[in-house]
């Protein structure tokens, strides 16, 4: 199965929020009432019903003021911490296409994925006890269609295609504008890539993880504590059995019965 990547060229984004609306439309997500906070940031954050939004940053760098609009949604990690942390099979799945897909039917609302995500993407609804996030429009891409947000993008900031093509395109574009590709980490690959404009790094932007990785806590939990729960129980059970065979049970000294006191 072919792997796909969504490429986000920040230098082309005008912050029109067409992607936000298209996402709501395709996924039948209700709009949220928001209030003016003095910033172009609207809505303020991702939510159970808002799977993608434009992050707005005012950055002063080298004496220059810059407005950065960044399309933010699930990064669809190759080695997703949310899937590793999830206790309920089928609630979160890594697909062959590269998308990390959630199935609300199986979600039990344990919030483990929210704690595990290196990009702070999954959101929960406390009343429903379910999580939700961007699915890379898995229902569209498996039918040969583009993700809803990509279809709505009118500047070409969002593009979608085969993994190899998109990686090449990202590096070519970054080279052309003197920018960088993020996250450009061969050890932590994602199915969403950014082209950041010249002079802007991931650390300058809000809600990014400049060095994404599988959280150490998830590794300790799932790769160490999880097996050692059984190893510990098994080792003691085996040890106890061996003790019973070799040393025998601890017998009560019947002789002492009358003496002692």
């Amino acid at each position: 199965m072919a792997e796909y990547i969504k490429l986000i060229d920040i230098s082309k984004c005008t912050g029109c929020r067409g992607c936000q609306v298209a996402c709501k439309n395709w996924n039948s997500l209700p709009a949220e009432k928001t209030t003016f906070t003095g910033s172009l940031q609207n809505p303020k954050d991702l939510s159970y019903n808002t799977w993608t939004l434009i992050r707005f940053d005012e950055i002063v760098k080298d004496g220059k003021l810059r407005w950065i609009m960044r399309h933010d949604a699930c990064m669809h990690c190759d080695w997703p911490a949310c899937v590793k942390a999830c206790p309920s099979p089928g609630a979160l799945t890594k697909t062959d296409e590269g998308a990390v897909v959630h199935n609300t039917t199986y979600c039990i609302g344990c919030k483990a994925c929210i704690a595990a995500c290196p990009f702070d993407i999954p959101r929960n609804d406390p009343a429903l006890e379910k999580m939700a996030k961007c699915s890379l429009c898995y229902d569209r891409i498996t039918e040969g269609k583009l993700p809803a947000c990509v279809t709505a993008c009118n500047t070409g900031s969002l593009t979608f295609g085969l993994k190899e093509d998109m990686v090449e395109k990202a590096h070519k574009r970054a080279e052309a504008i003197g920018g960088t590709v993020y996250p450009n980490n061969p050890k932590y690959q994602t199915h969403v890539l950014y082209v950041l404009p010249a002079g802007i790094t991931a650390a300058d932007l809000s809600h990014t993880n400049p060095n994404p990785s599988m959280p150490l806590s998830v590794l300790l939990w799932k790769n160490l504590f999880k097996p050692f729960t059984l190893i510990g129980i098994g080792a003691v059970a085996g040890g106890a059995f061996l003790h019973y065979l070799t040393k025998g049970p601890h017998k009560v000294h019947e002789k002492k019965e009358e003496g002692g006191e």
Partner: protein, 210 residues
């Protein structure tokens, strides 16, 4: 007094036995449901219990019972489980369980191993209780994600230690020490058992009875 009762000594009261078994049952139920949630290959457990969501709820409510009993048992047994100087000697001789020991320091009510188990249960239990309550009730909007990660990790980490120690507890309370298990069922053990396992407590008890 029947002949049977004459040879027996009451070592636990009904309060201790009820708390012990409610604590044990809720703990074991939490371990079983927890393993069912942790190992996808053991989906038979959540399936039998009515699905993963139901299993989560049962794990949480059983955990609340466990937590309540844990706090109760702390106040009930903390005095009996205070360490004393001779406990070190008992530990250095492994309580006579691993190699022959002649001059084992006489034990009061609980030996150093039992006391260690109690304090391990309290320490790990409190970690499991606090992290469990956190995992159940935390609001991702208000809590830093780093704290949440530590909580999920500690919940599993404390179980590794406690589950292994509980297995030791079960072995030494049943097959490893014949005549012991009745202490937590009828509440009575034999006089000879007392002479062997808690001679100082037994002598004290007889003095008080006189």
């Amino acid at each position: 007094m029947s002949a049977h009762e004459e040879n027996m000594v009451r070592i636990t009261d009904v309060e201790e036995r009820v708390v012990h078994w409610v604590l044990a049952a809720s703990c074991i139920f939490c371990v079983i449901t927890g393993l069912g949630l942790m190992f996808h290959a053991w989906s038979i457990i959540p399936t039998m219990l009515g699905g993963y969501y139901a299993t989560k709820l049962m794990h949480i409510y059983s955990g609340v019972v466990f937590g309540g009993m844990l706090v109760y048992s702390y106040y009930m047994w903390k005095k009996d489980c205070e360490f004393e100087e001779s406990d070190l000697q008992w530990v250095l001789k492994a309580g006579g369980y691993l190699w022959p020991v002649k001059d084992l320091p006489p034990v009061y009510k609980y030996n150093a191993g039992q006391k260690a188990f109690f304090w391990c249960l309290i320490a790990c239990g409190i970690i499991i209780l606090v992290t469990g309550l956190f995992m159940w009730l935390w609001n991702p909007v208000m809590v830093p994600v780093v704290l949440a990660r530590i909580m999920y990790m500690l919940h599993a980490g404390a179980v590794v230690v406690l589950a292994a120690f509980i297995m030791i507890h079960i072995y030494l309370g049943t097959a490893g020490n014949p005549g012991t298990v009745s202490a937590m069922i009828t509440g009575y053990v034999s006089k000879a058992w007392c002479q062997t396992h808690c001679p100082r407590w037994y002598a004290d008890r007889n003095k008080k009875a006189e």
